[in-house]
Subunit: 126 residues, 2 copies
Amino acid sequence: MTVKRNTWQKDAVKHALGEATGFVSAQELHLVLRNHGSTIGLATVYRALADLAGTGEADSLQSQEGELLYRACTTEHHHHLICKNCGKTVEIEANEVEKWAEKVAKHHGFREPSHTVEIFGLCGDC
Amino acid sequence: MTVKRNTWQKDAVKHALGEATGFVSAQELHLVLRNHGSTIGLATVYRALADLAGTGEADSLQSQEGELLYRACTTEHHHHLICKNCGKTVEIEANEVEKWAEKVAKHHGFREPSHTVEIFGLCGDC
DNA sequence: AGGCTTATTGATAATGAATGTCAATAACTT
DNA sequence: AAGTTATTGACATTCATTATCAATAAGCCT
């Protein structure tokens, strides 16, 4: 089995993601890192983010323009309220919706339900 | 102001979308039309679908791979339960969720809330 | 500490969806 | 029927993301 190795690149991505406010794209994160003097490659940023999303250390969603965005998060399942102007993000507890989604899926004979729930809007400052 | 004109191309797209089961991409729809002997252009399919989505005659969402998918629908706001294997789609009433989304948005001081809610799963046949 | 294995990197090419371009076409109006 | 112009479609372009692959370096072993 393949063993994971620790690299400064992975740390850099994880750290930069933690610093960012709201959701960021791989491209943006790559730019930020470069501007801070890093020589990290774009493909590496993509790979690191995919890994983080895989382990649950990062949360991913698609912007309304179709771009994949990432954000550092806790591993608990949750959803987001996102300002479509400034990108400010609020994590939302959505137990109601979780239960609703499962209920609806079961009711129609669907197994292994997953779901996407995102709320967009304009925050108070915009 | 620009006046809309009716063309067989727009009709073809609307009709093909009606025939399709579940969600289809612009690319797929273009292929289907071509295979049926149509000479319609790809860009035209994209434009027609965007129009239909704009008027509410078609519903659009992004697949989990990021592709934009379309589906003929009624103009009422609703959400979908989609089989991730065969693409079978069920329209869902989601009043609960509508209210929940508005409540949450308002609670955090967000205006003009919009939201995306899709449930994916495996249907009974898959 | 030095060597070895191989996971990882990064420059670059490749893919693929979606949009822009623009001359040619064809819907409407009168 | 003629004129205006919205629309078309072949093609080029953009842009995010993924694949390629030789070079590098992380972690293990002695």
